[in-house]
């Protein structure tokens, strides 16, 4: 929570004013029993009806002032809580945008989303509750105690005892209950998991005729949850009765000692009633406070998680202006890797080792190999999604680390493996590749990506894209993501397994279209199929993070066993391969 306090700084005024007004409200409320005591002792005692009327008007006045004060407090509390949450949300969102791929991998999308949504809402509720209610309770509780002391110090000692007793009870029950609540949460999670697993695996479960076993499994966890809930329920059910007993014992003691004092003439009847009222007020406030403790606990946990997320720093920095200079001696060189190795954070084994190659302007470079062999890792280094662990990646002879972020994204365009579109229109999506793209430019890219019929079928470039592109099939999305990468006509194009969902005919047409582009472009094609890269100027065959061979299709067929193996298993009419 401490780390998040700076975001409250803009609302310092509200954070101070809200409790101040809450305190005023409490003070006005605490006057009420005194007024009533006066009504009883003076008004009734001396039969002064006018005094009674005046005092009851005073009560109404106190109520009106109290209302005004309290509304003001609520406003400041709401403003501080909402404003705080808004700026925190903005900050966190920007912060997450600034992270590099390494941190995104480490954190994971679902964690980031929970921090942005659920956790911040928890914190907002927490701030609001603390300002509105939590501070009110101590004011009332201690205020009532102080008032009691002004009436009769001796009897007021009962208040001290009651407050101590109540705090002890609340603390003890919470202490028992919170670990038990956590246990309930765990058991609930286990039950949820059982249900989810059952539903996602329904075909397998029914194929193996395991329905009865599933029912027994669910039953076991359902019963375990029930047992824990019953145990916890018995303890948490103690809270209200115990506080009730303590406060009422307080009242009994108060009346007893009050009787002695009245007898001695040190207290009046009205004052005893006032003390009695103060005691009742304490009970009401404590019950409210106890109900809030869970909210506050959850808010604190949420705040902890949010500040943890804010502490994650991007491990990548870009130069503000272009640095370094071309060290290339080879004219026409486009992308070159020298002695590159890459080990992901917490990755253990290196994902890439000793990668060396040079791709010339205008080349098509094919990259092939099994899953997990490092194909995507390799191409991800070109737009500097990750930094190399050692060695350097150069574009036009200059280290990628010497380019500014904007320069790099002007040089390289990528179609990632995962074909996703974003909510908006098709045109909105295509403009990601070039902000000011004209309709003609977009159309050109669409046609080249073999997505002409897709766009037509959906009703043109202004057709609506639902979040994630859900209203498009996998193949349609894939073609549109290729189009998105083509719009910018950038000098380097990376297709990371971007035709896996396309049928072979469309895939072939796409590659032909790419070859006929009029602007100079170096293209990297990552694929599992030799057919997709057989006409490349250079093919890199990868295995286990290394380039095991490179060359043209025919050369590799003659020299590289792995390449030949891959090729043969994919050929039509290939004989059965047995391992």
């Amino acid at each position: 929570m401490k780390k998040l306090l700076p975001y409250l700084a803009n609302y310092k005024k509200e954070c101070i004013l809200s409790p101040v007004f809450k305190m005023l409200e409490a003070i006005f409320e605490l006057f009420v029993p005194l007024v009533v005591a006066a009504m009883i002792d003076q008004g009734i005692g001396y039969h002064k009806k006018g005094f009674l009327f005046g005092m009851s008007m005073l009560l109404v006045l106190l109520a009106i002032v109290g209302l005004g004060v309290s509304i003001t407090a609520q406003y400041f509390a709401a403003k501080a809580a909402v404003g705080f949450a808004t700026s925190l949300r903005q900050k966190l969102f920007s912060h997450l945008q600034s992270l590099s791929h390494t941190e995104i991998d480490a954190m994971g999308a679902s964690t980031m989303i929970t921090r942005m949504t659920g956790d911040i809402t928890l914190v907002q509720n927490g701030v609001n509750m603390v300002l509105r209610l939590v501070l009110r309770s101590p004011f009332v509780v201690f205020g009532a105690m102080i008032m009691a002391f002004t009436i009769d110090p001796w009897t007021a000692t009962v208040f001290v005892a009651v407050i101590c007793g109540l705090s002890a009870v609340v603390f003890l029950i919470m202490n028992f209950n919170i670990p038990m609540m956590n246990d309930i949460q765990k058991k609930t999670d286990a039950l949820t998991q059982t249900a989810r697993e059952n539903l996602t695996g329904v075909r397998v479960i029914r194929a193996f005729v395991k329905e009865q076993e599933e029912i027994a499994r669910f039953k076991g966890r359902n019963e375990a949850l029930l047992t824990q809930q019953e145990k916890t329920g018995k303890i948490s059910a103690l809270m209200n009765p115990l506080t009730y007993v303590i406060v009422n014992i307080g009242i009994i003691l108060l009346i007893r000692s009050g009787a002695v004092q009245v007898d001695r003439g040190a207290l009046t009847q009205g004052e005893v009633i006032a003390l009695y009222n103060y005691m009742s007020q304490i009970l009401v406030e404590l019950i409210k406070l106890a109900n809030l403790i869970v909210t506050i606990n959850r808010a604190l946990a949420g705040a902890g998680r949010v500040s943890e997320a804010l502490e994650v720093k991007s491990s990548m920095s870009y130069p503000a202006v272009t640095g370094g200079s071309s060290q290339s001696a080879i004219p026409g060189e486009c992308v070159s890797f020298s002695n590159v190795s890459l080990t992901y954070k917490d990755g253990g084994q290196p994902a890439l080792s000793e990668i060396n190659f040079t791709a010339m302007m205008g080349w098509t470079v094919g990259i092939i190999g099994g899953t997990g062999c490092g194909k995507s890792s390799l191409v991800n280094l070109i737009p500097r999604f990750y930094d190399t662990t050692s060695g350097s990646v150069r574009i036009f002879g200059k280290d990628v680390r010497d380019y500014t972020k904007n320069e790099l994204s002007a040089l390289v365009s990528v179609t990632p493996q995962k074909a996703v579109l974003f909510a908006g229109t098709i045109a909105d999506n295509l403009r990601w590749g070039k902000e000011d793209a004209t309709a003609a430019e977009m159309q050109e890219a669409v046609l080249m990506a073999q997505a002409g019929e897709v766009v037509e079928k959906k009703g043109g470039l202004s057709a609506v894209v639902e979040p994630g592109g859900k209203n498009f099939s996998g193949g349609q999305r894939q073609r549109l993501t290729v189009a998105r990468a083509l719009v910018g006509k950038k000098p380097i194009l990376i297709l990371d397994d971007s035709s896996s969902a396309l049928d072979m005919v469309t895939d072939k047409r796409l590659r032909e279209a790419l070859r006929t582009r009029e602007y100079p472009s170096t293209t990297f094609i990552v694929s599992q199929r030799t057919a997709a890269i057989s006409d490349a100027d250079m093919i890199l065959v990868m295995d286990n993070g290394r380039i095991v061979a490179s060359g043209k299709h025919e050369e590799l067929l003659a020299t590289c066993d792995l390449y030949r193996e891959i090729h043969e298993t994919q050929q039509k009419g290939a004989r059965e391969v047995s391992a």
Partner: protein
């Protein structure tokens, strides 16, 4: 009471939600059926709450009596002590009953939630797969878990709160009228104001809250979309643009949230204000009454303490009403699951494939099938598969290959025509027997959280360790399993956790290897598996297929060429069938696919 409540804005809101009062009544009746087994506890809770209300209202009366005798010079400590002891006893008894009621109430609630969850889950084991395909798993899980909880909170806890509230109001009213009619009248006239104020605020903030929910929903959609695809956002350098969009949304959300939060937070101060007015009025009129000798000071203290208590249940009740609405909606969602028609029960008792003696002949005679009535899929489909034959199912992605699996396994039933296994209509066979006769390995692998061993034994829990290892070896999985930290006892998380896609599929093969039924349904790997693992899977498939009727969703030309029969699918329908040579000679869709490569 009901009429009064219906006039309240809350109930009007409920009607807007398209749930008629009749519907709500039907749902409540269903909930009642779940309460029935616990009716004695529920009755006990209600009786207890009456006693508790009586006890907690009686205490102030006693206190008032003591205060009346607190007159300087006339104090008799013995009498006071007697009263105080009486108060103490009542307080202790009331507190104990309170605990008993809370604990019983919790118990009943938890038991009912358990029962509802159990019934919903059990029903899901027998509903048609079509229902599960239509309803996303996440939605069903949230019905079983979240809706059941909300139902319990709102309906059961809410009900007792409501009951206690009404009891308190009625009892307070009765006592006040008995003590002093005019002053009771003052309280009765002013108090409903507080109820009105609370509901006025609630209706007016309702619109704000739904606006806030809408805005928040839009923002969450943007957050999800962006953060799930953060790498793509970065690849195209769109961070700043998205941040700007986010900021606009955020500002708007701030405005609307501030309004919603502020206006809704007026409830407490406003009802407290009305409360204070009641208090002032009681003090004034009570004071006059005491002066006129119609009332004692102690009685005035009782009234003052009642007037603060009296408004509280009103506020609670108005909160409960909204919760009830929500709970009924949740109940509706969960009962929809519980009441979903199960599949027709099997005609015979569960039988093992051995008892059925399946040879593996599969025939489809004039089969027609579609998922949606007016969208025809498979029409007049006929095929004869002899025991031990291999059938390759081919076609472009999304052509509906899973439909064939759905029909063979009877996950779905045909609309007309028959599918026969060994000349017996599969609808005349028990589902369990039919399904056990098939071994199924799908590309979409599903593993359960648990150990590797648990997963391999899934279909045969009593398998010996040797059998497990033998199955794993036959599936080429033994070597990678041995390299895992705890070998066969390694725990894998939900959905396979740390395993690669290929390894998961090998485990699924091992799972089938252990029981190896007479017929197989296999799904060849596409792009997500590396070449070497793919070769292993291929070899495992080949070994399994010997002597077994096999349906294989094929991507590899070698598999297709070697098949005894090829079914060519397009747009959900089977458009061609034959072997490789005959299909090529026919020059149809298959030939065009083949020649395109």
């Amino acid at each position: 009471m009901k009429q009064l409540l219906q006039k309240l804005p809350f109930f009007k809101q409920g009607k807007k939600e398209k749930m008629s009062f009749e519907d709500q009544k039907i749902i409540l009746k269903k909930v009642w059926n779940y309460i029935l087994p616990y009716r004695s506890s529920v009755i006990a809770v209600l009786v207890l709450s009456v006693l508790i209300v009586a006890g907690s209202l009686y205490v102030p009366v006693l206190v008032g009596k003591v205060i009346d005798i607190l007159l300087p010079g006339y104090i008799e400590m013995a009498v006071i002590k007697k009263h105080l002891i009486k108060i103490l006893v009542i307080v202790l008894v009331t507190a104990f009953l309170q605990w008993l009621m809370n604990a019983m109430n919790n118990d009943v609630t938890y038991h009912i939630v358990r029962d509802i969850r159990r019934d919903a889950f059990n029903r899901l084991q027998s509903v048609p797969i079509a229902y599960l395909d239509e309803n996303p798993a996440g939605d069903l899980v949230s019905r079983i878990m979240t809706d059941a909880d909300q139902l319990a909170d709102g309906l059961l806890l809410g009900f007792t709160q409501f009951f206690t509230g009404v009891m308190t109001i009625v009892a307070t009213l009765v006592i006040m009228i008995r003590l002093s009619f005019p002053i009771a009248l003052v309280v009765v006239v002013i108090t409903p104001l507080s109820l009105y104020v609370a509901s006025y605020i609630a209706t007016h903030t309702y619109a704000l809250f739904s606006q806030q929910a809408k805005m928040r929903g839009a923002q969450t959609a943007l957050i999800n979309e962006t953060l799930e695809n953060e790498k793509i956002v970065k690849a195209f350098g769109q961070e700043k643009q998205i941040e700007k969009r986010f900021e606009t949304m955020n500002r708007e959300l701030e405005k609307i949230s501030l309004k919603a939060l502020f206006y809704s937070s007026l409830t407490n101060p406003c009802t407290r204000f009305v409360n204070s007015l009641v208090y002032a009025a009681v003090a004034l009129f009570g004071g006059y009454a005491v002066v006129n000798g119609k009332m004692s000071v102690g009685l005035l203290a009782v009234f003052l303490s009642y007037s603060t208590q009296y408004t509280k249940p009103f506020n609670e009740i108005s909160g409960v009403v909204t919760e009830l609405q929500n709970a009924i909606a949740c109940a509706g969602r969960i009962f929809e699951v519980i009441e979903k028609e199960p599949e027709q029960t099997d005609p015979m008792q569960t039988q093992t494939p051995a008892a059925l003696g399946v040879q593996g002949r599969v025939s489809c005679r004039d089969v027609n099938f579609s998922y949606v009535k007016d969208k025809k899929l498979i029409e007049h489909f006929n095929v004869e598969v002899m025991p031990g034959q291999n059938v390759a199912i081919v076609g472009p992605t999304g052509c509906g290959k899973t439909t064939v699996i759905n029909l063979l396994m009877r996950f779905y039933d045909v609309d007309s025509g028959t599918i026969l296994v060994d000349e017996k209509d599969i609808r005349q066979m028990p589902r369990s027997g039919l399904r056990r006769s098939y071994g199924m390995v799908l590309q979409d692998t599903w593993l359960r959280s648990g150990t590797i061993r648990d997963n391999i034994c899934f279909g045969k829990p009593d398998a010996t360790p040797e059998e497990v290892v033998a199955a794993a070896k036959a599936a080429y999985a033994d070597s990678f399993i041995r390299r895992l930290p705890k070998g066969y006892d390694t725990v894998i998380g939900e959905d396979g956790g740390l395993l690669s896609a290929g390894q998961k599929q090998l485990l699924c093969i091992a799972r089938v290897m252990l029981s190896l039924p007479p017929m197989l349904i296999l799904d060849e790997a596409t792009s997500s598996i590396d070449t070497r693992t793919e070769m292993k899977i291929q070899s495992a498939f080949t070994a399994m297929m010997v002597g077994r009727t096999t349906f294989i969703v094929a991507h590899r030309l070698s598999t297709i060429r070697n098949a005894d029969l090829i079914l060519v699918m397009k747009d959900g329908n089977i458009i061609e069938q034959g072997n490789h040579e005959s299909l090529l000679a026919a020059g149809g869709f298959y030939a065009s696919l083949y020649n395109a490569v």
